[in-house]
Subunit: 345 residues, 2 copies
DNA sequence: TTGTAAGCGTTATCAA
DNA sequence: TTGATAACGCTTACAA
C-alpha cells in the first residue's frame, strides 16, 4: 500500500474522463471507443497503474484468497501438500494465506477467525492432533463456507474430504512383510483421534487376518511419534519387554520406522535379515539411510492439488458441495527398499 | 465472504443507533455511554459480528498481511524459515501470503505483482536461482516498499538482508576436516549467482590457506545440486577422473554431501576412514543416515523469525530502513557426526 | 460513447 | 453522548 500508487481516479483526472470510463476501458468493455481505450491503457501503463485488489474484494465480496490451515510447515508430507496447493491456486489466480497450528486447537480456531475476518473465499484444512470436537468446522459448513479437508479429515456431515487410501497402503505394506516371511509384525500406530491412524491400523489388522496370522493386541503400540527418538525409545522397550521377539515393524510414519530401525540395530538385530521394517509416507530420507527404508508413498502434491481444485470449483460454483457424499481417495504406492527385502534361500 | 455476515450497519439498525456509534462502542472509544457500549457488544456477540478486514484495509491503506516469496516450500531449510515467519507474524497479528517461485524468475515477478495488487504491507524474499538482475527489487525499494531479504540476499543498495554466516560455517567445516587429518578436500559448490555459494566457497578457501594447504581449482566443483543423485554423479566423475584422489568432501548443502557419500561407498571408499564428508544445513536426515552426516547447522527458524521482526518493525515504523547498512548475520554451528570423525592412532 | 451516483464496510471529522 | 457525511478504490445500473 504505497502512497502515490496510481488509481483509476488519477488516470481519469489526467485524461479528463470519468472513473467509470477508465474502468471500462481497462477491461475492454464494449461501447468504449478504440481511441479512448488506447489512450487509457497508455496512461495506465505510464502511471504504473495497478488495480487495487482490496477495493475489488470489498466491491465483489470475493477476495480470491484461500486460507490453508495445517498442523506444521516443517514436515515433509505437509510441505509437499502445500506445494500442490500453491501450484493450483497460483495457476487459477488465487492467493494462499497460510497458518500452522502447531497441533494446537486454540490456534486452529483463532486462525479460522482471522481468515473469516479477511473474507477468504474458502478453507483448506488438515486439523490438529488436539482437535477432537469438530463444532468449529460444522458451524462453518452450516454457514455455507466452502471448506475442504485433506489428509486429516473429520467424520462430520457434509464435509468434503480428500485423503489417501491409508487402509490399502497399510494393507499392502503388511502383506508385503508377510510375503517376505515376517510373521511377528508390530504396528507402531498413530494418535487415536486421527482417522488416518485407524485406517492404517485397520489395514494392518486385515492383512494379518487375511493371511491367517493372529492379531496380537500387544503388537499394536500407540506412538504419537514425531521424532525418530520417540520411535526408538518405544521400540527399545518393546524389544526388552515382549517375551516373544517381533520380527518386523510397520510404522505409522517414517519417523517411527527409522526409530525402530535404530533401536533394532542397537539391539544387535540385522535389518532386513532378522527384522523387516516398513514406514509410511516415503519421506526423502528413505532412500538415503542404510538400509534404505521401504515405505508407503503418499501423493502429497497430488493431494494438495486435487483438494485445491475441488475447493476452487466449489467457490466458482462449477460443482456443488452436495456432489461429494464420499471422500476423494488417492492411491498410495508401496516403495519396496532394502529394509524389508529379506534374502531368501 | 458469506451472505448474511453481520456488519456494523446491521447492528446499528437493530439498536436504532448510527454506524459510527457502533464502531466507537466496539472499540471502547471515550465518549460513549457505558450502557450503549454494553448493548452494542451484546448485540454484536449475538449477531456473531466479525469486523471486515478487507474494508479496514481499504480504509487504512494497511492490510496487516505480509507477502513471502520463497524458491521452494518442499525444502527442509525453507520450510523451517517459513515456520519462523509464521510464528512471529501470527503473534503480531499479521497474515502471511505465501508463494513459491520454483526457482523461476518469471514467477517471482508475477508474485510481486499480485502481492502489490493485494496491498501487502511488506515483502520477505529469498530469490530464485534464475534471478541475476535485481531491478524488480530495486524498484520496490525505491518506491519505499518495506522488503527484507533472507538467506539468498542481493547485493543492492538499501537492501535489508538477513543471512547466516555462511563464510564462518564453511570455514569451520573445512577446518574441522583438516583437523581430522584430511588434506585433499573437494568443495561441491553451489550456483554461482548466489552470494551464499560465494561465501561458502570463500570460507572453504580461506580455511585451506590458513592451514597452509594449497587451493586447487580442480577441487572446487560447481553443482547446482538439488538432489543426492546429482551430487552422486558429480562425485563419481571426480573419483574416476581426478589423478589425485580426494580424501574429503565439503558439500554446499546436505543433498550434495549425501550424494558424495553414496558415490564414495559405491567406489569402495570407507567413510570416514578413507573419506571425510561434511554437509551444510543440518537437515533432519543427517542423524539418520549411516554414517551420520556432519553438517553445518543453519538457524532457519531464527532467521525467519528475525527477518519478520525486522520487517514488521519497519512497517510499524519502530525502526528505520536506514538503520541497516550491514546485513543481519546469524551464527551457524558445526554439528560433528560420524562422517567426518576419523579414528586416529 | 461517456458520465453520474450508489454502494461494498469501516472510520475520521465535524457538527449537533 | 451521538449522528451525518465523506472517503478508501472500484464497479455497475441508469441516465444522458
Amino acid at each position: 500500500m504505497k502512497i502515490g500508487q496510481a488509481t483509476i481516479k488519477d488516470i481519469a483526472r489526467e485524461l479528463n474522463l470519468s472513473a467509470s470510463t477508465i474502468s471500462r476501458a481497462l477491461k475492454d468493455y464494449p461501447g468504449i471507443s478504440e481511441e479512448t481505450k488506447k489512450k487509457v491503457k497508455e496512461v495506465a501503463e505510464k502511471m504504473n497503474y495497478r488495480p487495487n485488489a482490496i477495493a475489488l474484494s470489498l466491491r465483489k465480496s470475493r477476495s480470491f484468497t484461500i486460507g490453508v490451515i495445517i498442523p506444521e510447515v516443517v514436515h515433509f508430507f505437509f510441505s509437499t501438500v502445500i506445494s500442490g496447493i500453491e501450484e493450483v491456486a497460483f495457476s487459477r489466480g488465487y492467493n494462499v494465506i497460510l497458518t500452522q497450528t502447531n497441533e494446537k486447537i486454540e490456534r486452529e480456531k483463532s486462525s479460522i477467525n482471522t481468515m473469516l475476518s479477511n473474507q477468504i473465499d474458502g478453507f483448506m484444512v488438515s486439523f490438529s492432533k488436539e482437535t477432537e470436537d469438530f463444532e468449529h468446522f460444522s458451524k462453518l459448513i452450516e454457514q455455507g463456507y466452502p471448506i475442504v479437508f485433506f489428509d486429516r479429515v473429520p467424520d462430520i456431515p457434509h464435509a468434503i474430504n480428500v485423503m489417501v487410501d491409508d487402509y490399502q497402503g497399510a494393507y499392502d505394506a503388511t502383506s508385503h512383510l508377510i510375503s517376505q516371511g515376517y510373521q511377528k509384525i508390530v504396528h507402531l500406530s498413530g494418535p487415536k483421534n486421527l482417522k488416518i491412524s485407524h485406517e492404517r491400523a485397520r489395514g494392518y489388522t486385515d492383512a494379518l487376518k487375511n493371511h491367517g496370522i493372529p492379531v496380537r493386541p500387544e503388537y499394536i503400540v500407540e506412538s504419537a511419534v514425531g521424532t525418530p527418538d520417540e520411535g526408538k525409545e518405544i521400540t527399545k522397550k518393546l524389544l526388552s519387554s515382549l517375551p516373544d521377539l517381533p520380527d518386523a515393524f510397520f510404522g505409522n510414519n517414517d519417523m517411527a520406522a527409522v526409530g525402530a530401525m535404530l533401536a533394532c540395530k542397537e539391539h544387535g538385530l540385522r535389518v532386513p535379515e532378522d527384522v523387516g521394517i516398513v514406514g509410511f509416507s516415503n519421506w526423502q530420507f528413505c532412500s538415503m539411510i542404510d538400509p534404505s527404508l521401504s515405505s508407503v508413498f503418499q501423493p502429497g502434491f497430488a493431494m494438495g492439488a486435487k483438494a485445491t481444485e475441488v475447493l476452487l470449483d466449489i467457490i466458482e460454483k462449477k460443482i456443488d458441495v452436495d456432489d461429494f457424499n464420499s471422500p476423494i481417495v488417492l492411491e498410495t504406492e508401496l516403495m519396496v527398499r532394502n529394509s524389508s527385502k529379506r534374502i531368501f534361500k
